[in-house]
């Protein structure tokens, strides 16, 4: 099969995407497919038209690749592609939209408020920040609404830290979310088609639990897969993850990040195009399920060619 691997692009997560893409290309090559690597740029449509691939493997993260833009183009060009469709991508990458969908489906997700820059500039939203103490409480988490990995995510331990955290988050997006901080075990559930893979737990190896950057580094975070959970806990976490995929319309594959607190699981977000690098969680989960990276890539391709097995 002729497979175009779409990677890179202009997103801030270009580096991760190039690594995901390279690894996928390698696997496709080993599987005997004809691989066409494409660094997504201004000539993307021209190249896709010229190459006429049977399927596109989307290995892009962040803006452009994970927000539905590339998916919309591929739908228009009639090229089957891996991962969720344009609408599901657009919903998943936007934490505010995703939260609304989760709430509508009665999925437990931490309380939050979202603001645009306009709200502060034109509507005096700053005057409402004082109310956060009584609603979300402190510490709270400030995140850009759209954005991946840890970029722009800050903890605010006190009201005085909120403005700085907002300025940081607004560097990445025009809308930010303030979210109640839930303390608990950090879990990730990868879903392939409609099947949950073994759950990964991320355990910070050292120091500051508020250091988001540490989570993406070998040595600073220890990953356990399958996570050591009771059958009841496992069922609750898996159910929440599957319900999230369904609520967001994620087909193909996705990764749902949750916190398992004393009172049960809380869904933070879903990643429509989870990382596929050597250190990413989805490949680790697949491996724990006895699936090699090649198997995983083959499965993802298979789902792209024969979609709608999932509701």
């Amino acid at each position: 099969m002729k497979v175009a691997v779409l990677k890179g692009g202009r997103s801030l997560e270009r580096g991760v995407s190039l690594r995901s893409g390279a690894r996928v290309e390698d696997a496709l090559d080993r599987l005997g497919h004809e691989v066409v690597p494409i660094d997504a740029g201004a000539d993307l449509v021209k190249r896709l038209r010229a190459e006429r691939p049977d399927v596109a493997f989307v290995a892009m993260h962040g803006a452009g690749g994970e927000d539905g833009t590339v998916q919309e183009l591929l739908e228009l060009l009639g090229i089957p592609f891996t991962g969720p469709g344009a609408a599901a991508c657009a919903r998943s990458i936007d934490k505010v939209l995703a939260k609304a969908a989760m709430r509508a489906a009665a999925i437990p997700t931490p309380d939050s408020f979202a603001f645009t820059q306009t709200a502060f500039r034109d509507l005096g939203a700053a005057d409402a920040l004082g109310d956060l103490e009584g609603t979300l409480g402190f510490p709270l988490v400030v995140k850009p609404s759209r954005g991946g990995s840890s970029l722009g995510v800050k903890f605010a331990g006190a009201p005085s830290e909120v403005p700085g955290a907002l300025v940081a988050a607004f560097s990445y997006d025009d809308r930010v979310m303030l979210e109640r901080f839930v303390s608990g075990r950090e879990l990730a559930v990868s879903v392939l088609g409609s099947e949950p893979l073994p759950i990964v737990e991320a355990i910070p190896a050292e120091g500051d639990p508020y250091d988001f950057e540490a989570r993406y580094e070998i040595g600073r975070t220890h990953f356990v897969c399958p996570a050591d959970l009771s059958p009841t806990e496992r069922a609750a976490v898996t159910d929440a993850a599957l319900a999230t995929c369904q609520a967001l319309g994620c087909e193909g594959f996705a990764r749902v990040d949750l916190i398992l607190a004393a009172d049960g699981p809380w869904v933070l977000e879903a990643n429509a195009i989870p990382g596929l690098t050597d250190t990413s969680l989805l490949p680790q989960a697949a491996e724990a399920a006895g699936m090699s990276f090649e198997n995983l890539v083959e499965q993802i391709l298979h789902l792209a060619m024969a979609p709608s097995g999932v509701s």
Binding site: R10, L12, E13, R14, G15, V16, L18, R23, E25, D26, A27, D29, R30, V35, P37, I38, D39, G41, A42, D43, Q117, F120, R121, A126, L129, S149, S150, L151, G152, V162, P163, G164, L166, V167, A168, A169, F170, S171, Y172, E213, Y216, E217, I218, G219, R220, F223, C225, D278, T279, P283, Q284, E287, A288, S292, F293, E294
Partner: protein, 469 residues
Amino acid sequence: MTEVPQPPHKRRAHTSTRDLERYAGLFAERTTVMRSSAMRDLMAVTARPEVISLAGGLPDTSTFPPQSFAAQMTKIAQESAAAALQYGPTEGFDETKDCIVEVMAAEGMLPDPDDICITTGGQQAIDLVTKTLVDPGDVVICEAPTYPGAVPVFCSYQADVRQIEIDDDGMRIDLLEELLEELRAEGRRPKFVYTVPTFQNPAGVTLSLERRARLVELARLHELLVVEDNPYGMLRYGGEALPPLYQLDGGDFVIYLGTFSKILSPGIRLGWAVAPPPVLEKIVLGKGAADLCTSTLTQFFVRQYFAEGGWRRYVEDLVELYKGRRDTMLEALTEHFPAAATWTEPAGGLFIWATLPDYIDTGDLLAKALRSDVAFVPGTAAYVDERGKNSMRLNFSGVTDAEIREGIKRIGRVIKEQVDLYETLAPSQGSAADALAGSPKSEPGTPGREAEDVPVDSVVVPFRQTGRQ
């Protein structure tokens, strides 16, 4: 976009989670301090062709005449191909050392060629000195901020890095003295003080003569080594040259590091270390273990180039070019950076260090700036701790005047957006007074300061006071 051709039949086995754990179990302790991060990934984006990058530390190699390069390499090929393609002595060729002596003499130093070890760029000189002197946990002292490229070196040898604040006159030697006393009380002896005393990277400031003298005195008193890294000394755009520490000390307690990167080419990877003989001996042994010898070919090239006698003229041309670019950047900063920003006004070198209100994190600002296709180095790269968050390093040597103007305009715009936003969010806190808190500057708002005490090499001035010196 063109694709890099892939090697056929790439067959690297995949790394599984088990492999990762296995490798992780084999990693040396020192690798835990070698960190990758999301921010590093962000820097990958700065390499996109549409990005105006003020992040590099690049000299403008387009100014080197290609015909001259071709002629010299041809001559080497015709006259000494076999030797130029062979290994050479670990410490470097005597003839190349003569060129180094010539460069150092131009700055007033008279080193013994036997005290010189030629290295693969100045970076290797920093590595070899640290390798020679530092055991895990040993104290290394440097400036705050320090050369970002030195941070990973010190960390990989597991040094206990202590950074001393700087002001317009370079490293605060009074603070250094306090630290030395503190360490003495603890029974600890620092191994060396690393400093870029002239046109410092990243801050652009220069250590005053008085402080130079005191630093050399302290080195003798405490019997500690000073590592003087001087890549930029010859790139002076105004004022009088100050004597290098090596000259003041005579080479007893000062290890001198030099490089051809900024006066000729970084691509030839030629630097050097000048050290007292016992130290040099160990450095040479360390170098032998690292890479046997520095590129023979490029050492031949330097000899050939120096034999023509035009190297000083080329440096003068570079000075002319970079001086213009520095002026362009300073003008652009005055025009486009907000009132709350301060910056250094270097009399040489390649960098300007700008400091923003303390609520702005320049790492996040970089993400925003990249959306406008412009990049700089966030200040945290120059510290081993959390300091430098609201500062940035701006390079003016590797970009054209037009790019400098446009780049600074774009950065100014994103800063202004953040300042405006913060003032909306925290009206009582975002005032200009608060915004003036920053790193390398001494009372920038003090009236009359410029008139009574204009440092020779650098002055940090707030907006609207900025002017030609």
